[in-house]
Symmetry: C2
Subunit: 408 residues, 2 copies
């Protein structure tokens, strides 16, 4: 039910190897995708790689998020051990011990320190992690490491996703080739507050930890922090960026950094939009542009008020140009603007001008835009110079069905 085509092409990244196995963590393997049996994934990074991350702000941040953040402070990461099917969230001290036990077992198999292993989990909240299933699969997992297994890894981290999300860039910096490749998962419980469910982005550039963190935060703020499926923020959101340093390109050089940022932003937006295109039950891909705002927060308040309105989302599902619901959603945002200056566009069609229905608006024009699979809603507040963009999906019967049946 995903919106639009997806590309699964990618470039391997020097210094990165991957593996995935079926450890039997998921309760059922009857997913629509034959590769859904894979539920345990390993990413390996060359020695001296630099890894940074941003993590969920949900108060009930899952055990692996807490352990991972602690490990990242102590050592540079050599391995990401990722399971789907179980979130290891709201599991208390036992959950921490479970995550730690898996790291220790992985350390033994791979011959590194446990603090060089970052654990990640995604799936059902509140159930104990099946550590035995994980630990007994680690040798097979480690033995399968290969630089080309990106697509298998992308499939292995999926939960309600119907297709893997992978994006890749190869470009030239002063005669040297640089690669960025990333994977992500997420389809519901998506209104990231720092990052989305799980995203792993790697490159072969050289970069200090502080600079890499700064670059990641900036890129997250115009990609994963600009999407919503259902206004719900996961307990397990993590977005990681690793630089293996296998090229001679150093991001400390301003020209290299600028080029890298352009490519990274584009790649991360592709992954973030990939999550929305594959959102639970999505039949539409919706871009919401808010411009003419007095500051950035007003842009986001208005954009998310529209993007998260169940009434707006059902109208979009129905292809109904019910522009009154856009107006209602703007109006419920907790902001202070002059409504008599507000213009609203659906695609290129002006629905509202100066706070009232545009005199030349015809229902058929709005309906034509709404019939498309990809829809742009543009709000001009005419009250300042700030603009921003949020991407979202519609609210369909399928969304209710998927989430009513999630644990059955």
């Amino acid at each position: 039910m995903a919106v639009g085509e997806a590309s699964f092409d990618f470039y391997p990244v020097p210094g990165v190897r991957l593996a995935a196995v079926a450890a039997g963590i998921r309760k059922s393997f009857e997913g629509s995708h034959e590769s859904k049996a894979h539920d345990l994934v390993l990413l390996e990074f060359a020695e001296n790689s630099t890894t940074v991350g941003v993590f969920t702000k949900n108060l009930f941040a899952a055990a692996p998020v807490q352990i991972g953040k602690a490990h990242l402070k102590q050592r540079d990461a050599r391995y990401f051990l990722i399971n789907s099917g179980n979130a290891n969230a709201a599991t208390g001290e036992e959950g921490n011990q479970d995550a730690l036990r898996c790291c220790e077992a992985m350390a033994e198999v791979s011959g590194v320190s446990y603090a060089e292993i970052l654990p990640f989990s995604t799936g059902v909240i509140g159930e104990r992690l099946p550590t035995e299933k994980i630990i007994r699969s680690l040798s097979e997992l480690f033995g399968g490491l290969d630089p080309s297994k990106w697509l298998l890894a992308a499939k292995g981290i999926m939960t309600t996703d119907t297709r893997p999300k992978i994006a890749s860039r190869r470009f030239n910096v002063c005669g040297t080739t640089v690669t960025i490749t990333g994977i992500a998962k997420g389809a519901g419980m998506v209104q990231p507050n720092m990052a989305t469910m799980l995203a792993y982005i790697t490159s072969d550039v050289i970069c200090t930890k502080d600079l890499l963190q700064d670059i990641l935060v900036r890129a997250v703020n115009c990609s994963f922090n600009r999407i919503t499926v259902d206004s719900d923020t996961s307990t397990n959101d993590s977005c990681m960026l690793t630089a293996t340093g296998k090229t001679l390109v150093d991001l400390g050089d301003p020209a290299a950094q600028e080029l890298f940022l352009l490519e990274l932003n584009s790649l991360m937006q592709e992954l973030a939009q990939g999550i929305i295109r594959d959102a639970e039950g999505a039949t539409k891909f919706v871009t919401i542009n808010v411009e003419g705002a007095p500051n950035r927060q007003v842009c986001l308040d208005v954009a998310y008020a529209i993007a998260n309105s169940p009434l707006m989302k059902t109208a979009i599902f129905a292809g109904d140009a019910n522009w009154g619901r856009i107006v209602m959603a703007i109006g419920k945002a907790d902001i202070d603007i002059d409504v008599s200056r507000v213009d609203v566009y659906l695609g290129d069609v002006c629905l509202m001008r100066g706070g009232a229905k545009a005199s030349n608006y015809r229902e058929v024009d709005g309906a034509n835009v709404m019939a498309e699979e990809e829809i742009v809603i543009r709000v001009n507040l005419n009250s300042g110079d700030f603009s921003d963009t949020v991407w979202t999906s519609d609210l369909s019967h399928e969304y209710v069905k998927i989430n009513a049946e999630y644990r059955t």
Copy 2:
């Protein structure tokens, strides 16, 4: 599809007469309820009645809301002229003129000043009000005024409601009988921010305007301002309270006021809960109690985070005791609490104690609670003395269907 039985019994209120006609404002009359043809309602109050109101905080407050607030400042209201089928919202200056024109015509028919008429509208946003249809129905409407037509009036203000909401109390104050009777409408676009869609409450007590306003605000804050269907705030929310002064009971007397407040709160909660029981597509009635909070805002932030979570609402629809989603919702609230103190109950069943799954929790116990039509979710933050309650409904296939097809 409403949850539970509703009572349609009521006591007429001395000093109040009502009427309803079919003016042809609604596009279609194929509602499930035979009385859905009625779409124009008149409430008449005796001379020297006192009327107060609270109104939506949506920035795009509808034309009738703006006109009504202005009239209320000038004169005491003698008539409420209410139409369903068209919200007269986001209609700009033309919308104001349309509302005013209806008031002037009603003033002519009834022989009072136009400022003694308050207009109310509910229905589709962004369409011009069909003033001609309204104006030509006013004589018939006025001629039909009768003290007993409460149920007809309650039906006449319905939109997607499947049944009318009416509540009534008769009680004794120092030997004198006092009556309160009210009607309300609302089923979707319900997260009132001051009041819900439309509610009209009347009594025969004597009261000054300032005191009556104070009483109404207090009662709204524990009734209509504690419900949500879909987190969407209507442009037309209005809640009115009128005292006709036909008894000898004066609310300036503290004992009388205390008794009156008890009965009014109970009546307004019944109406507010009636809206949730009849919420669009509702199959469950959900009470969310948050206690042990450091202040009231934290209670409401947590309660609404749960009540408005699409993932929580679909789990409730499915009868799935997916308590991880409760945890996720609490965690996404923008509050500062110690999560290791949080207890969560589903009915009497403890799901979470001290921030992790309760050791003796059994899935079957949670499932038994979730199978009921009425569900109580209780969160104890163990971090203070404040508590509050919010009522909500589930998110069903029917909700999507109703709102995808609303204008077709």
